[in-house]
């Protein structure tokens, strides 16, 4: 009897927590939507800002965010996957595994503004890429590297040893086994890491502050070395600078709404990709 009561109370608490989570999620989406939807128009999506950011659109910032995010993934995915494959499949000594794990864990805990400073020092200045899409993508790439490595490692660990043995027993080399069997089996898990990273990379402001973002730029970036506008930074600028907050605030919410939509869009694409190519590989 007592057990039953405890059981019920436990269930109620868990349910309440779930509802609270959903409630906050719904609240965020509702607020952003309610405050941002009014400024969304064709012009907002396709034109550059006008009248000192108080009118016009945010197209260059949309493009910039997409470029920066994709650039970060293109840079971090092969690097992170290779790192995870090395750690998981090539049985390096315990010292190397530990060193990398400690490194990765620490990297994951570094505040994003520190990445921004690092990017400024290394990519912008030392390597001479300047304030550019390239520098910003590389900086964001390093930011999401730990997440990609962890997700890849987890996914590789989940591939049963029997699958590797099956391939090797057929006379496949180690590399063939990794490329043709292990990676495809791990891909859905790796993609989950990528999807989470996309949200992170698209939304970060600090890492691009000194490495990529321009306060105002008319057109689209025409080379990896050009500065870009980006939505998170644009929101920041709209809320902290300028002289017409009553006109700028709604635009900032519009940008936030767009940012949400873009993350959702890129993530959905990644999920579709995962399901399409992952289909054969999950039981």
């Amino acid at each position: 009897m007592k057990n039953k009561i405890v059981e019920n109370i436990g269930f109620i608490i868990i349910t309440l927590c779930l509802l609270a989570t959903l409630f906050f999620l719904a609240l965020i989406i509702y607020f952003i939507f309610a405050k941002g939807i009014s400024v969304i128009s064709w012009e907002f999506l396709t034109c550059a800002p006008r009248k000192a950011m108080t009118a016009g659109g945010v197209a260059p910032a949309i493009a910039g965010t997409i470029f920066l995010t994709l650039g970060a993934v293109i840079f971090a995915l092969p690097l992170g996957m290779s790192c995870a494959i090395y750690l998981n499949e090539y049985n390096p000594s315990g010292f190397i595994v530990n060193a990398v794990r400690i490194g990765v864990n620490n990297l994951a805990g570094v505040p994003s503004v520190v990445f921004g400073l690092f990017g400024l020092a290394v990519f912008v200045k030392f390597l001479g890429f300047g304030v550019s899409v390239l520098s910003g993508s590389l900086t964001l790439g390093i930011l999401i590297l730990p997440a990609i490595i962890s997700a890849s490692q987890e996914a590789l660990t989940a591939v049963p040893q029997s699958v590797r043995e099956a391939s090797l027993a057929l006379g496949a080399t180690k590399l063939q086994t990794i490329v043709k069997t292990v990676i495809p089996s791990a891909l859905p898990g790796i993609m989950t890491g990528v999807i989470l990273s996309i949200g992170r990379a698209a939304g970060e402001t600090a890492p691009i502050l000194f490495t990529a973002a321009a306060f105002y730029k008319r057109g689209y970036p025409d080379s990896p070395f050009s500065e870009v506008m980006a939505l998170p930074y644009h929101i920041y600028a709209l809320m902290t600078e300028g002289t017409r907050p009553e006109l700028q605030t709604p635009i900032a919410y519009g940008c936030a709404l767009l940012l949400l939509a873009i993350v959702l869009l890129i993530s959905s694409a990644a999920i579709i990709l995962r399901n399409k190519y992952g289909r054969y590989y999950v039981s």
Partner: protein, 255 residues
């Protein structure tokens, strides 16, 4: 020993260690061409450990040590320099738990051909068909070659694994308790298949089902605690075992 018994694989003084645990103790054993040799013995006695030496699968296990020689076509496959990839193409293996790739039925069988560099689509599809037929699976899957192999039943998956192994054209096939997770009907099918395959291949099978050993094998090796207690023709070992331990095991006194 009759004249038809050509030795295919010869194990000499084989010892094997997992860390400091000695799992195989001085094993000496010959495998005959186109015969089925079965390994019986209680679980943990080293049957899997031994047959996994025959295709160098134990190389994948860290912190192990091997001593002795295993000769296959004049090559000591236990030698460090022995080419594992080449040996595994010659000595195929079917595992205890069916482990098809999470790919299509067709891709499972074509896998071994593709890693060997075969590009010709026609050759590949002919070979896939031939292998599936040899594994007595063709009729059940010919209309669904593009289905995911994981949708097949356990027994079908195991025959797919056999087909996958046959496609590489091995000369020796190792079966490690291939029926352990299968129902009696599937088990029956696999046993029939093994009897059919021995015409072309040299077969080694681990089983802890004594009746199975009696049904399918020509030679039987009985192992106990890492030692090879007795090795004789299946007829002899099941009717007049020489060793007391063998007799006790066969009569179900332990196991």
């Amino acid at each position: 020993m009759s004249a038809e018994n050509i030795i295919r694989i010869q194990a000499e003084n084989v010892n094997f260690y997992y860390g400091r645990h000695k799992a195989l103790k001085n094993i000496n054993l010959d495998f005959y061409n186109n015969k089925v040799t079965s390994f019986i013995g209680p679980s943990g006695c080293g049957k899997s450990t031994f047959i996994r030496l025959l295709n160098k699968m134990n190389d994948l296990v860290a912190d192990t040590k091997t001593e002795g020689n295993i000769w296959l076509d004049g090559e000591n496959i236990l030698h460090d320099k022995a080419d594992a990839v080449k040996i595994r193409r010659k000595v195929g293996m079917v595992f205890q738990k069916p482990n098809p790739f999470a790919k299509t039925i067709f891709q499972n069988v074509s896998y071994g051909l593709e890693i060997n560099g075969e590009k010709n689509k026609k050759i590949i599809s002919d070979k896939v068909e031939e292998s599936l037929k040899k594994a007595a699976l063709w009729n059940e899957v010919k209309d669904r070659l593009a289905d995911n192999a994981l949708k097949l039943s356990g027994g079908q998956q195991q025959r797919l694994c056999i087909a996958r192994c046959l496609a590489v054209e091995p000369e020796v096939i190792l079966f490690d308790e291939p029926c352990a997770s299968l129902d009696p009907i599937s088990t029956n099918k696999i046993e029939e298949l093994i009897l059919e395959l021995k015409k072309q291949y040299t077969i080694v099978i681990v089983t802890h089902n004594m009746q199975q050993a009696a049904r399918v094998s020509d030679w039987t090796a009985f192992m106990y605690l890492g030692e090879l207690i007795e090795f004789a023709s299946t007829d002899k070992i099941f009717t007049v075992p020489k060793e007391k331990k063998t007799e006790e095991y066969l009569s179900g006194k332990f196991g």
